[in-house]
Subunit: 334 residues, 2 copies
């Protein structure tokens, strides 16, 4: 198996992408392909002791940046690391592709170059995010701002498979992000989605309100990409402001500084629990191939974990399971 | 001036509603009306030393509960404390009405019994919520799940007036909740709203992402009621899980317990900063009269502050300012 990495994607490329790939070699069985500027990649590789028999370098000359317009970039920058990766995936020359680059471009490229699973209307980003005492999954985390109810059902099915077969959550509890606990709440689309979810085979637990989401009442939180993206980033923002405030409490005087030392380990454990980099990237569910979005600010550790989860993702057969699901209900929904 | 209180609304009614009203008498110039079960109200009032010349009791026999269906309850329970309050407001026999009862019913009742300001398409709930180092306003906090772009513009205008004239924020910064910083992001409706806001006289600072909202980059966060409700409750939920985790860090051993004592004051100050009960209730902006929703779990302090802010709200002339705004642009938007 070959897992390819967009060596040029992300804020710390190619240093951290290459370093992460090198570290991942210890944990995965797959060979790794590094796509990008050959000279730069080789230079980074020189810093490490690497079994080069397991590393393929795929040379490209262009890079899609965060300032590029997604669709335009995918169409014009044909020799970019991102387009090359998606094309190789389409041709089955690689088994998975990871990029920490421009999210919009990766999404557009996955649709235009790799293609979606026939029968899935809109692929979705499934993002791991911290809940009170575990990691949950949020889908869609930002790919589709405007959705129909059938999209929400598909997000739920794909997210549930991902949770069960890749992250190992048994019979994942699926919750619909909503503004009230009772049936009949929310937008027209969300109300329709409730009915579809209720009739599905999923372990659907009903609506989950904003205040319950962080407590982990659901393993899989289903939302349109607009709401999902706000949930994901708001959780990050509130946690950050909270942390800042707490830090300043400890910085008040000599006693509070001492207190800080006394509880440092506890806080470090808590911080580790909240560390998304442990969980690698976010798959684009519904794409005909393993396309994984790593966080733009991914460091080597995040990239290493993305490679590990990508291997799991491929081996889990989630993509085939989604294909089977679509076949089974073909005709059910026009 | 007379401010009326739904004495029967909320989880702690009538004890806390009456107690809050009694405490508010010290801070406001208005007379207060308590609407509800006369016997129960008098019994509660007996617990305090009250200047009864400033308290009016309006007897009703019915109560709308949280289990009631909003529109049905408003139509059937004509002798409820909530319907009475909204009717008295309509007839100008009172100047403001506060309820901690069923939110949906209060909204439906405000529309059906009191009426909206002519030219405002949909009233919105404006809720105060904690940001990093201040209180911000979120509107709509849950009244309208499905919206049009003109609704978002109206929420922004009304929220901005409320922030400026009631909460005293100078030239409030208005941000549109969105999934990216750049123009052109988000749903079709949100993109249209961006254009309307850009052309408006508001201090529009553009899109605000989930991770920036808690830092207070905008004073007024504008969203549809679905997104707004999720932002409000998610902020509450993340803060709560964070607090729980921190508490458990301090409970680990004798050192961490000691550390907890050493930083108690700092944490208490922080907690106070985050205390929404300081800011009273949430007005239904766009209604032809001062209708204020207090939190369902309001205690006496929250109710007292709701009365104080209601007086400010009435005196600020925000309702007249909204009416003038609508007149000025009549014809602009159909």
């Amino acid at each position: 198996m070959i897992i390819a990495i967009d060596a040029m994607g992300g804020d710390h490329a190619p240093q951290e992408t290459v370093k992460g790939a090198v570290e991942a070699l210890k944990y995965v069985k797959s060979d790794l392909m590094l796509i990008g500027d050959e000279y730069k990649i080789r230079k980074e590789l020189d810093n490490y002791k690497v079994d080069l028999s397991r590393v393929i370098i795929e040379a490209t000359t262009e890079v899609i940046t965060n300032d590029d317009k997604p669709v335009v970039a995918i169409k014009r920058k044909k020799d970019s690391s991102m387009v090359r990766g998606l094309d190789l995936l389409k041709k089955n020359e690689i088994d998975g592709f990871i990029s920490a680059g421009n999210t919009g471009a990766l999404l557009a490229g996955a649709l235009l170059r790799t293609g979606r699973i026939r029968g899935i209307d809109r692929p979705a980003i499934a993002s791991v995010f911290p809940m009170d005492n575990k990691m949950g999954i949020l889908t869609d985390a930002g790919a589709n701002a405007d959705v129909k109810s059938r999209n929400l059902l598909e997000f739920a099915v794909m997210g549930s498979y991902y949770g069960e077969f890749v992250l190992g959550i048994e019979s994942p509890k699926v919750g619909l992000a909503n503004i009230g606990a009772e049936k009949g709440k929310g937008t027209v689309v969300v109300q329709e989605a409730y009915d579809l979810l209720e009739k599905s085979d999923l372990n659907f637990i009903g609506n989950v309100e904003g205040r319950d989401i962080p407590f982990g009442v659901a393993d899989i939180v289903v939302a349109d990409g607009f709401t999902g993206n706000i949930i994901l980033k708001l959780t990050e923002g509130v946690a950050k402001t909270f942390s800042n405030n707490i830090k300043s409490v400890f910085k008040k005087n000599v006693f509070s500084l001492l207190a800080g030392v006394m509880v440092k380990k506890g806080f470090d454990d808590f911080k580790k629990k909240m560390d998304y980099t442990e969980y690698g990237g976010a798959p684009l569910l519904g794409v005909k191939g393993a396309v994984i979005k790593a966080h733009g600010s991914s460091n080597a550790k995040a990239m290493m974990n993305a490679v590990r989860y990508t291997e799991k993702y491929i081996q889990s057969g989630v993509i085939e399971k989604i294909q089977n699901y679509v076949q089974d209900r073909s005709g059910e929904i026009e």
